[in-house]
Symmetry: C2
Subunit: 302 residues, 2 copies
C-alpha cells in the first residue's frame, strides 16, 4: 500500500500572494511531494498549505518551505487577526495511509531537530509529539504570541524542545508535531439564537464534559441569521462524525430547533464519510475493500 502522510503548514502570510506562491513553488520542486491546497486569509494574514508525501520525501519539502518563509516573512512587521508565534507558525504531520501516528511523531522530531539547527529557530513539539503534557495543546504554546515569546522563554516550563533559548529575531519560533486528521465541521441550526448554538457546543466539547475528540464553539452566521455549532473533530475514528451529528440534533430538538444543514470545510478523509454511511445503513460486515475505487487501487500496487 502506498504511504500517504499529510502535512499542513500554517505560515504567517496572507496578504502578499507572491510570497505565498514562492513558498508553494519551492515545495513543488521536491519529487514525491504534492501540494493539494493553499488557502490564504487576508484578515488572519495567514495561509494554510496542504501537502502530501511520505516519510522519505516530506522532510526536504518542509525544509524548502522554511528556507523561503523565513527569508520572506518578518514577524516584526506582521499583524493579523489570527494568533501566531512564527513566520512558519505550525507544522503538523498526519498519517493518512500506510503510516502510523508513531511514525509521524518520529518524523516530526527528526524535522524539528533539523529545522532548529538549519535556521537557528526555537522549536516546540506539540500534540502526539509533545515532550510534556502541558505542551500538547497548540493554543497553550502559542499564548503570548511572537511579541511575548522572549519573556515566555525565560520560564523553564517553556524552554524549546530544540534550538536556541531566545526567539529568532524575525521568524520567532515554530510548533511541529503529529496528529490524527482533523475535520472542520459546522452544523447549522434553524434558529438565529446563537445562545442555543453555544449551549450545544458546550454539551459536545471535551473541555466541558463532552466527547473526547471534539472541540466546538457556537457562532452566529450574520448574513444568514443562522446559529452554527462550529466543530473541530480531532480523531474521527474514535469520535465519529455521525455520533456528533446525532447528539447535536438531539440537543437542538430540546429547544424545538432543527438541524437545517451542515458543512465540511476543506478536506475530509473518505473513511469519515464511509463510517457515516455504515452507521445509517446499519451495514453488517462491510469492509473498505468492497469500495470499488479501493479495490482498484489495491490491485494497482500488485
Amino acid at each position: 500500500m502506498a504511504q500517504i502522510i499529510e502535512c499542513v503548514p500554517n505560515i504567517s502570510e496572507g496578504r502578499r500572494p507572491d510570497v505565498v506562491e514562492a513558498v508553494v513553488a519551492s515545495i513543488k520542486t521536491v519529487e514525491g511531494v504534492r501540494v493539494l491546497d493553499a488557502q490564504s486569509d487576508r484578515d488572519h494574514n495567514r495561509s494554510v498549505l496542504t501537502l502530501v508525501g511520505d516519510l522519505e520525501t516530506l522532510p526536504a519539502a518542509v525544509l524548502r518551505l522554511f528556507e523561503m518563509a523565513v527569508a520572506r516573512i518578518d514577524l516584526r512587521l506582521h499583524e493579523g487577526e489570527h494568533p501566531r508565534l512564527g513566520a512558519v507558525d505550525v507544522v503538523p504531520f498526519i498519517p493518512i495511509e500506510g503510516a502510523t501516528i508513531a511514525q509521524c511523531v518520529a518524523l516530526a522530531r527528526r524535522v524539528a531537530e533539523e529545522v532548529a539547527q538549519r535556521f537557528a529557530l526555537p522549536v516546540y513539539l506539540y500534540e502526539e509529539a509533545a515532550s510534556a503534557p502541558h505542551r500538547r495543546n497548540l493554543e497553550d504554546i502559542r499564548r503570548g504570541q511572537f511579541e511575548g515569546l522572549a519573556d515566555k522563554m525565560k520560564d523553564a516550563q517553556w524552554a524549546p524542545d530544540f534550538g536556541p533559548s531566545a526567539p529568532h529575531l524575525s521568524a520567532g519560533a515554530v510548533v511541529i508535531g503529529a496528529r490524527m486528521p482533523l475535520i472542520a465541521y459546522n452544523i447549522n441550526l434553524g434558529t438565529p439564537d446563537v445562545e442555543i448554538a453555544k449551549k450545544i457546543a458546550k454539551a459536545i466539547r471535551h473541555s466541558n464534559g463532552g466527547y473526547r475528540f471534539v472541540k466546538a464553539m457556537g457562532v452566529l452566521l450574520e448574513e444568514r441569521q443562522v446559529a452554527q455549532v462550529s466543530i473541530n473533530m480531532t480523531d474521527f475514528k474514535r469520535t465519529p462524525l455521525f455520533r456528533v451529528f446525532e447528539t447535536v440534533a438531539a440537543e437542538a430538538a430540546r429547544y424545538g430547533v432543527p438541524v437545517i444543514g451542515s458543512e465540511i470545510i476543506g478536506l475530509v478523509p473518505a473513511d469519515a464519510l464511509l463510517d457515516c454511511a455504515d452507521h445509517w445503513l446499519r451495514l453488517e460486515g462491510f469492509t473498505r475493500s468492497q469500495v470499488l475505487e479501493n479495490r482498484i487501487r489495491e490491485t494497482e500496487t500488485e
Copy 2:
C-alpha cells in the same frame, strides 16, 4: 482524470477451477486491464469476473476471454442452477470514472461485432445497448436458455444483433451491453416472517409500482430465521441507496418490524456511500473533490 470502465463477464463454468484460472490468466496478459475479482459458484456452475480497463484496453482482454472460454467450455455438457445461453453468457460494460454510458454502449457494439465475426457466435445487445425495447432485459433474452436457442432464433423478434442466425454448437450465444453500476444490497428485518419481506419488496420494486431503478424480492435467511429484502440497485445515482433504505424502514415499521442490519454484496462505488453520508449529514455544498483521497488522485494526473 483516468478513465475507468468496469466489465463483468459471466461465464458458464464454476466447477473446474483450472478452466476459470486459464480464462483469468488470459485476461491478465493484456496491458492496462486489471482483474479485480473472480467468484465461482459450484451450484450455479458459473463464474463472475470483474475487470477494469478503458475504451482502448478492454476489447483485447474481452477477446482473449472469449478465445479461452469458447475453447474450454462446452454447453452441451453443462448443467447448473443458473440459467445460461452461452459459454460466455453475458458481458456488461459499466462506466465508473471519466467515461459515459454512451461511450460504453459504443464499446459494447464494437466488441459485439468483433466477437460475432471472430468466433462465429450469435450476439444479442442488451440494457442500454439494446436494439429494441423487448431486448433490453437479460432475463427475456435468456429465456429458453441454450437448449431452446435454436427454436427461439427462428422467431424474427429474436434474430441476433450480430453473427450467424443459428446457435454456436458448443458455445451457444452471448449477451453484450452497457449499464450503470449495479449494487447488490440486502436489508435484514427483525422478523422471521418472509411475507413481510415480500410485501416490502413489492412496494419498492419498479415492476410493481415502486422506484424506477430497483429490483427486489423477499427471501428467508434459513439459518438466522431472518426475513430479508434482497435488492438490485440498477442506477444508484437516480434511485439512491439512502432513499430505498428509508422506505424499507418506514414500510417495516408499519408491521412493527425494525431493520436490524443491511449488507452490500461484492463491490460498491464510493459515490453510492458518499451520497448516503451527504444525505444523513444534511451536507450543504459538499463536493467530491473535498474527499482527501480524491484530491490526491486529482493532483496525481496533473
